[in-house]
């Protein structure tokens, strides 16, 4: 059983939804990211999504765009991100999923990347701009090393397409809770409930919901029907505001702890 499967199985037994915080790797610095991973894990995160910074983050709103810029200014590369994962993996078992855009992976070389990512201890890969239509160009390489490719589904995905994608999904499904870029609108749990419940019947893997989830109350509302809840921009905003403060880790721990409360049913 993979680390991801194990984590979801344990949570399932306890009747809890997974809390998946998203942070941008390298923001405000690679060293600080390692501290943040430790803090998130200790404060109740079940899986962590690490954003790979990209110069042109097309699917992200201003908050994560700014985080990406800070990480790049701090010299973060894809190789740096893999190093961060490898270091975290020496002491932590928490599943770490990389989320980003295709070009840095393409430039790195997909085959090398898949091998290096597995060796570092990466548990899944989510490439926002690599839809199923183009996935065939990397799937043989990720399959060869057993690296799950996380699939995105959106409110605009028609049912027939959702059925097909859900049946083929690996790791977990990431359901985008609103029609927009990250961090720009608030989630409406009532509006997505039916879609998520339906998706769960179509999929063999857990269904995570993300985009627009910012408060403990949002988490609680979504955790009622989803297998996992992703919180990104709200956390990244705290890092953006307090990146260089002494108190950053305490603030992140307190926020994460409050979010995790909402996951317990």
């Amino acid at each position: 059983m993979s680390r991801l499967q194990h984590t979801f199985a344990e949570l399932n037994k306890r009747g809890e939804a997974a809390l998946i915080p998203f942070i941008t790797a390298g923001d405000p610095s690679p060293q600080r990211t390692l501290d943040l991973i430790r803090t998130l894990a200790a404060a109740g995160a079940d899986v962590i999504e690490l954003g790979v910074p990209f110069s042109d983050p097309m699917a992200d709103g201003p908050t994560i765009q700014a985080a990406s810029e800070r990480a790049l200014a701090a010299g973060t590369t894809l190789k740096t991100v893999l190093d961060i994962v490898a270091q975290a993996r020496r002491e932590l078992q928490i599943p770490l999923v990389l989320m980003g855009y295709y070009n840095p992976v393409f430039r790195y070389g997909v085959e090398c990347f898949a091998r290096d990512a597995m060796a570092a201890g990466v548990d899944g890969l989510l490439l926002v701009d690599l839809p199923p239509e183009e996935m065939a160009e990397i799937k043989p390489m990720t399959d060869a090393v057993g690296l799950p490719l996380i699939t995105l589904l959106a409110p605009t995905t028609p049912l027939e397409r959702a059925k097909r994608l859900a049946a083929a999904a690996e790791g977990y499904i990431y359901y985008v809770s609103m029609t927009g870029v990250t961090g720009t609108q608030a989630v409406s749990p009532a509006a997505i409930r039916d879609a998520v419940v339906q998706l769960k019947t179509l999929a063999q893997v857990p269904v995570a919901v993300g985009f627009g989830i910012t408060t403990a109350a949002d988490v609680q509302a979504v955790a009622e029907f989803a297998d996992a809840v992703v919180v990104g921009s709200a956390l990244v905003r705290i890092i953006g505001e307090h990146g260089s403060d002494e108190g950053l880790l305490d603030k992140v721990a307190a926020f994460t702890g409050s979010l995790k409360q909402g996951c317990k049913k």
């Binding site: 097309m58 699917a59 894809l78 190789k79 183009e134 605009t156």
Partner: protein, 398 residues
């Protein structure tokens, strides 16, 4: 030579494709289906032709540049006068086609990105013509250097949204237009201004711009009784170039030459030669040749002309480059400025700074060709919009 691109999945060899977030995928599939339907619909083609003839003023003339030819002392130079189109550039050929498609699809709002502002003006113009709501995304750096076009767009009723991220130029305007589209995809049609973006845009924009080459071929045959030796066009995203080239791709005796912006010089790193000095990568929904660093981060482009200031290029050009059917060279800001002045002084035609890059290449190559050879150049737009930039470069206070 058989040339059937893109394939069914929108690929031009290893380039092209649809590298977008899932939220947009259904919209792209819907757009592709709608476009495939109208592509073979004579009624739609008739409608496009009607507006191209009566509103845009097509066919545009093919003009023999007699004095430029004499001065250069080599090949005969013919100018395909896209500058004489309504709104002053080739961009309107594409916006007429796309807005008619948007209407068929029942969309009420259109958005567009723009660099030089020509595509923004062309989109705002057809939006006014058909009473549609229009929002244009434009980098604040370009808003500064193309203030005339910004005001034109506003007069036409468009909302102009300044984009401050990244370099605040065309690349960033396209990022924000895509972000806006993600959030409003259900009722909004995105009018992409060049042969870039995800499939079907590179194919669709090419098809709408191919009228340039189709007319030019007929006109040059009528004037000279033979095909040109070489067709030359400037390359931003590559829409005027592909429009000129496409109908000649099967005519292997016709050389195809694209001219990129070398900015301050390729060796300075401040240029926009995405083909000449780029490498394969994925940006704005397609795989193509890009200016990027070793980590796959997109680099800043530089050109004195806002319309060429883009770190990518249409995927079909990357493919034509790979298969060696077309050649690509680059000319500097200074060479373009000199060509701008030359064409103005001896033909009485003020070209856009983008277009001046193509003219600069003609000035370089014509003298070493023989007088019975023919160069066909796409005069993609007029230069009124660039007067401020040129004055500044010449250190003239207006």
């Amino acid at each position: 030579m058989s040339y059937e691109y893109p394939d069914a999945r929108g690929h031009f060899g290893q380039y092209g494709g649809r590298y977008v977030a899932e939220t947009l995928m259904p919209a792209l599939l819907e757009l592709e289906q709608a476009y495939v339907e109208v592509r073979n619909d004579p009624e739609f083609q008739k409608e496009v032709d009607y507006y191209l003839n009566h509103y845009v003023g097509r066919p545009s003339p093919l003009y023999f540049a007699e004095r430029l030819t004499a001065e250069l002392g080599g090949a005969k130079v013919y100018l395909k006068r896209e500058d004489l189109n309504h709104t002053g550039a080739h961009k309107v050929n594409n916006t007429v086609g796309q807005i008619l498609l948007a209407r068929r699809m029942g969309k009420k709002k259109v958005i567009a990105e723009t660099g030089a502002g020509q595509h923004g003006v062309a989109t705002a113009t057809v939006a006014a013509l058909f009473g549609m709501e229009c929002e244009i995304f434009m980098g604040t750096e370009d808003i500064r250097r193309q203030s005339l076009n910004v005001f034109r767009m506003k007069l036409l009723g468009a909302k102009v949204t300044g984009v401050t991220s990244g370099t605040a130029t065309l690349k960033d305007a396209m990022n924000d237009a895509l972000r806006h589209w993600v959030a409003h995809v259900r009722d909004t049609f995105y009018v992409i201004g060049t042969v870039a973006g995800p499939h079907p845009y590179p194919m669709m924009v090419r098809d709408f711009q191919a009228v340039i080459g189709i007319e030019a071929k007929e006109q040059i045959l009528a004037a000279e009784g033979c095909l040109p030796d070489v067709a030359v066009a400037c390359i931003g995203g590559g829409s005027n170039a592909i429009g000129l080239f496409y109908p000649f791709i099967g005519d292997s005796q016709v050389g195809l030459l694209g001219v990129e912006a070398a900015g301050l010089g390729i060796e300075t790193g401040k240029h926009a030669a995405s083909l000449g000095a780029g490498s394969p990568g994925v940006l704005h929904g397609n795989k193509t040749s890009l200016l990027q660093d070793a980590d796959g981060q997109i680099q800043h482009a530089h050109s004195i002309s806002a319309g060429l200031d883009y770190p990518g290029v249409g995927p079909e050009h990357a493919h034509l480059h790979d298969i060696k059917r077309a050649c690509y060279v680059a000319v500097t800001d200074d060479e373009a400025l000199a060509a701008f002045r030359k064409l103005t002084e001896i033909e009485g035609i003020i070209p856009a700074l983008e277009t001046a890059h193509a003219i600069a290449q003609v000035i370089k190559m014509a003298p070493s060709m023989s007088p019975d050879q023919i160069i066909l150049v796409c005069l993609s737009g007029r230069g009124d919009k660039d007067i401020n930039t040129v004055a500044q470069a010449m250190k003239v206070e207006l």
